[in-house]
Amino acid sequence: MTMSINIAINGQKLTVPEGTTILEAAKQIGIEIPTLCHLKDTNEIGVCRVCVVEVKGARNLVPSCITKVTEGMEITTNSPKARKAREMVMNLILATHPKDCLTCDRNGDCELRTLADKMGIRKIDFGAPVKDLPLDDSNPSIIRDSSKCILCRRCVSVCNEVQKVSAIGLINRGIGTTVGTAFDRGLADSPCVFCGQCVSVCPTGALTERFNLREVWQALNDPDKHVVIQTAPAIRVSLGEELGEEPGTIVTGKMVGALRKVGFDKVFDTDFTADLTIMEEGHEFLQRLTEKGKLPLITSCSPGWVKYVETFYPEFLDNVSSCKSPQQMFGAIIKTYYAEKYKIDPAKIYTVSAMPCTAKKFEANRPEMNSSGYRDVDAVLTTRELGLLIKEAGVDWASVEDSQFDQPFGEGTGAGIIFGSSGGVMEAALRTLSEVVTGKELKNLDFKGVRGLEGIKEAEVTLNGQTLRVAVANGLANAKKVLDGLKNKELDYHFVEIMACPGGCIGGGGQPRPSTPDTKQKRMEATYRADKGLPRRKSHENPAVQEIYKEFLKKPLGEKSHHLLHTSYTPRNK
């Protein structure tokens, strides 16, 4: 049983459960103690010292984020001593921090800047030289500006603990300490999978996505270019946050309306190729099942996961579905089928994709992603960049009216939408597999066992007397557990869905900040709400999917599919 602890904060008495930190206890009575390095459940190391408070009888000030309350503790959060110490810490951090806030990527949502403001810091007391360290722009996804790093170590914790990639760590010592890769090279030369979870938790502008907005504007302003955009399932439940909406608001119609105003020639729905993925991957699964091929089949939609398996578990590459991700299928289809059907020169088509993801930028740049004869996807924007694009274009979000996606790729099913949440690809696949295998209509479409934010989910489904064991993992530490279990034969599944980011794409590295468990939960619920509200909830019922098979692809796993929709993988060095 948890004990109750009696304490007093700023003279106010309260009782909290044993194990509560001072920070959490203060929050309960409406006192917000400033924090910087703290990231609940992930980075609880108390290194920045911004959260120090005074405890009666204690020799020193204590960091409230990691100090648990004890019986009779008397805490003062705003004593002169505590305030002075906090201000000193901020002063020391700010002294060496670059002062280019006006043009910084985090202008507007920088945690350091917000905190300096909240703490009333109006002058920096030290004249130390500003940090001036080389920029790491070695890769298509993530830019690291160590000059702006305050060494809070959130990124390191996320990379080491949540993702088990350990591409970055603290290197050197004392004043020379930086966050860096092994041998201090760029991320391109490291095992980084470009998931962007580090970007998602960075409190400053030290970690950002590589911006591709400039290229997109150039294409939009080029009268010769036919510019199309596809928007990922997980964007419609998160883009609103960039534009002042509450987390979990579904903004599909408004998003389409806004993108039309920005000037895209066509606004398409990635749900279409999510449905197409289910057709291809579902048949790939059945083929492996009936022909005794390699099982479990593991999904391949998440490019961070794909790079992870290529780097750390190449022995599983034959288990990974050969299906390209929906983004890449879309690019290949636009510059072939769509170009032919609408008689547009594919050389003049510019495809943009809006994704909740930083690894998608890497994926679009993979050398093999040119099966249309051109670069299949020309530019990838994160949800954050998409929000910025709409703002830059001067579109007044509040007055934008709902609009529909363009045909022929405006039809998406509920199955496509739930791709955005961990478990969604599995559920979508099961909906289609059930009907394809049994030939009967599936009555209950909700496979609730695979839903939710839990790291690893398992379920069993019986089709025509055969029981299929499936698993869903999100976050690469969980993926690692599943792979290790499969490797030493402790686990045995037929079908596994893996997403690199915790929660799946709704928690992607390109999503609005902050991406807390609470906001992720709300985005996730929104994807299932959107699914429920659609007339079609099974991928194989998507009329656009049926049409493309009839007119162009002929059949799942056919020759055209093989060429345009499937790919192969590359073992990589750590």
């Binding site: 080491n160 350990s166 591409a167 970055i168 760590g169 603290l170 290197i171 050197n172 010592r173 860096g180 890769t181 092994a182 041998f183 201090d184 490291s190 095992p191 750590k574």
Partner: protein
């Protein structure tokens, strides 16, 4: 120390021996790095990768530890090791100017080795010869009451 006796794979074999001594043990990275450094006088990238792979540790972690401790070298030492004192007494007597002169003469930064492999440079906290400040040592010889001009003269003799 580093005297190869079997041509070619000797270093690899000796590194393997070291690793096997610590097989399956936790918290042994520092002694392993120390022993591995004895083989060649520094820790080449390949050695760090081999150690990380053997203990199934991330490269970033092994590199982080190796760069944290001053005792580990990641580049070969020069034939002559220069230690310039940056301690308090030397500092007030112009130790920084001595260090700057060594850097500019050899075209290296503190912690580096000159391109010809002749010198490496290590700033140190105190050489215990404060009465002679500012001081530097080259190998076992101590040079005191230095001026930048004297530094250039001394270096020219090596």
């Amino acid at each position: 120390m580093g005297n190869c006796c079997c041509g070619g794979n000797c270093q690899d074999a000796r590194l393997k021996e070291i690793l096997e001594q610590y097989k399956g043990m936790d918290g042994v990275l520092i002694p392993v790095l120390q022993k591995a450094q004895e083989l060649q006088g520094y820790l080449p990238e390949k050695t760090l990768r081999t150690i990380a792979d053997y203990f199934d540790m991330p490269y970033s972690e092994v590199y982080g530890v190796a760069t944290f401790y001053a005792q580990f070298r990641l580049i070969p030492s020069g034939q002559n090791v220069i230690k310039v004192c940056t301690g308090t007494a030397c500092h007030v007597r112009g130790g920084q100017k001595i260090l700057d002169r060594v850097c500019s003469e050899l075209n290296i930064k503190p912690g580096e080795t000159s391109a010809d492999g002749k010198f490496s440079l290590e700033p140190v906290a105190c050489l215990g010869a404060c009465g002679l400040a500012p001081v530097m040592m080259i190998n076992d010889s101590t040079f005191g009451r230095l001026t930048p001009a004297k530094v250039s003269e001394i270096l020219a003799k090596y």
